[in-house]
């Protein structure tokens, strides 16, 4: 029979835990709302940039840039060449957010498994991914820790990461063939999904936005379209990284909110169960004492 004192202590402990998980849930919910607002606030820039980029692409169709089409000389080398790939993995800096980091790491391992034919190097954004992979036999190129820690992302941090990746892609004698970005896409507070996106080469520029033929404007280009284009391409990559970070943060907060919600519920269940046992023990004790008194009286 469990001790009454111990049971009381456990109930108190679980109640404390529930208080913490509840508070974390509230904080995550508030931050999630702000994170979503930030995703929305970033949209006009992306739209406008894609529109200008689409127009510049139309103006300079002959423009070639390795960022856009990849390294031409590598394509010529055929089947014998091992491809070099960078995978930039965006995880969280903190835990206690359900399966968020686990799912990402699993997806990254899956990526490594399916790409055994090429040399994959990792760029790790977020402490959790770094902590996992630094003890494993994979090549880590760089890590960025502490960028998403506070639940907000600066566009300048994202730009810094993106410039690093562009630098990787362009340097070392064009060794790197592709750069991928793996992050959690925010679908809703309840569901997030790891996605792999090809960051470089950019490939085809979609003419998104309101590019209906009749609204096409004949712009005067103050600089040559190709120059605008080459200036915009890195910005596009920066923007993509920024967007991925925003989505990742929103996903992390959503995931933490759900995880902490179910943790609070579980704590409630545990408390109910323990209280029940506690009451039973107390009742049993009282009954036993009455029996003792009664049988003692009878014996007289």
């Amino acid at each position: 029979m469990p001790n009454l004192q111990d049971l009381r202590r456990r109930v108190r402990a679980v109640k404390n835990m529930r208080q913490i998980t509840k508070a974390m849930k509230m904080v995550a919910a508030a931050r999630l709302r702000r994170a979503q607002e930030r995703v929305t606030a970033a949209r006009p820039y992306t739209q406008k940039m894609m529109q200008i980029l689409g127009d510049a692409a139309r103006r300079a169709p002959e423009y070639k840039d390795p960022l856009l089409t990849g390294h031409q000389q590598n394509l010529g080398e055929g089947e014998n060449r091992r491809e070099h790939v960078i995978l930039a993995l965006v995880t969280a800096d903190k835990g206690l957010c359900g399966g968020f980091n686990t799912n990402l790491i699993k997806a990254a391992q899956e990526f490594l498994k399916t790409n055994t034919g090429s040399d994959v190097e990792l760029v790790l954004i977020g402490r959790k991914g770094y902590d996992f992979f630094r003890r494993r036999p994979v090549k880590i190129r760089r890590e960025h820790v502490g960028i998403t820690g506070t639940g907000r992302v600066n566009a300048s941090d994202a730009a810094m990461i993106a410039r690093g990746l562009i630098e990787d892609f362009k340097s070392e004698g064009n060794r790197i063939d592709r750069v991928y970005l793996l992050y959690n896409e925010f679908k809703s507070a309840l569901s997030q999904r790891p996605v792999v996106e090809q960051l470089l080469p950019v490939g085809h520029i979609e003419e998104t936005g309101n590019a209906q033929p009749e609204t096409l404007v004949d712009y005067i280009y103050e600089q040559p379209a190709s120059e605008i284009f080459s200036e915009l391409l890195p910005k596009l990559v920066e923007n993509q990284v920024y967007h991925a970070l925003l989505e990742s943060v929103a996903s992390e907060l959503g995931s933490r909110m759900t995880a902490m919600d179910s943790a609070s519920k579980n704590a409630g269940e545990v408390i109910d169960k323990l209280t029940l046992v506690m009451n039973r023990v107390r009742q049993a004790k009282i009954t036993r004492e009455i029996i003792e008194v009664v049988s003692g009286a009878e014996a007289l």
């Binding site: 406008k48 566009a155 300048s156 712009y219 103050e222």
Partner: protein, 153 residues
């Protein structure tokens, strides 16, 4: 001209589409947010090849920007803003500025800019091989513009 459209039509008549607009819709957008959306009479942006003054009914135009001051006139009032890099697009009385940075004078932290200025100057003066000259130069420019703009309040 507008005879084919009934007079009670809520659609704008061709005539009204042809009238000269007397206002520009200015938008300043950074990667993080829409920093400014105003109806203005005139905009001057720091184009890469020099200052570009834009009045209503300007020809469609795309230009790169450099670090500098964007100013716009609203009625009799002149307002200024710090922008750094990016692009301007002018199309049908819409001026869209895409920039990495967009700050109003009251948002600028002059002390911080002064520190950044000192740092950038020291870096440029040290002439080390390990420094990124362009970035230091850009930082210097930004700091100078910030101080110039923020100092006036």
């Amino acid at each position: 001209m507008g005879s084919r459209i009934a007079s009670h039509s809520p659609l704008p008549t061709p005539h009204s589409l042809l009238t000269m607009a007397d206002k520009l819709n200015l938008e300043v957008i950074t990667p993080e947010k829409l920093a400014l959306r105003e109806q203005v009479d005139e905009v001057v942006v720091p184009g890469l090849g020099g200052e570009l003054g834009i009045l209503p009914d300007h020809t469609p135009l795309i230009s790169q920007l450099k670090t500098g001051v964007l100013s716009y006139r609203q009625g009799g009032e002149n307002k200024r803003m710090h922008v750094s890099g990016g692009f301007v697009e002018v199309a049908s009385d819409r001026v869209s500025v895409l920039s990495d940075v967009a700050e109003k004078p009251e948002e600028i932290d002059v002390e911080r800019a002064q520190r950044a200025l000192d740092r950038a100057e020291r870096r440029l003066a040290s002439r080390g091989d390990d420094i990124d000259f362009n970035r230091a130069e850009l930082k210097l420019q930004r700091a100078m513009i910030r101080i110039q703009l923020g100092g006036r309040g």
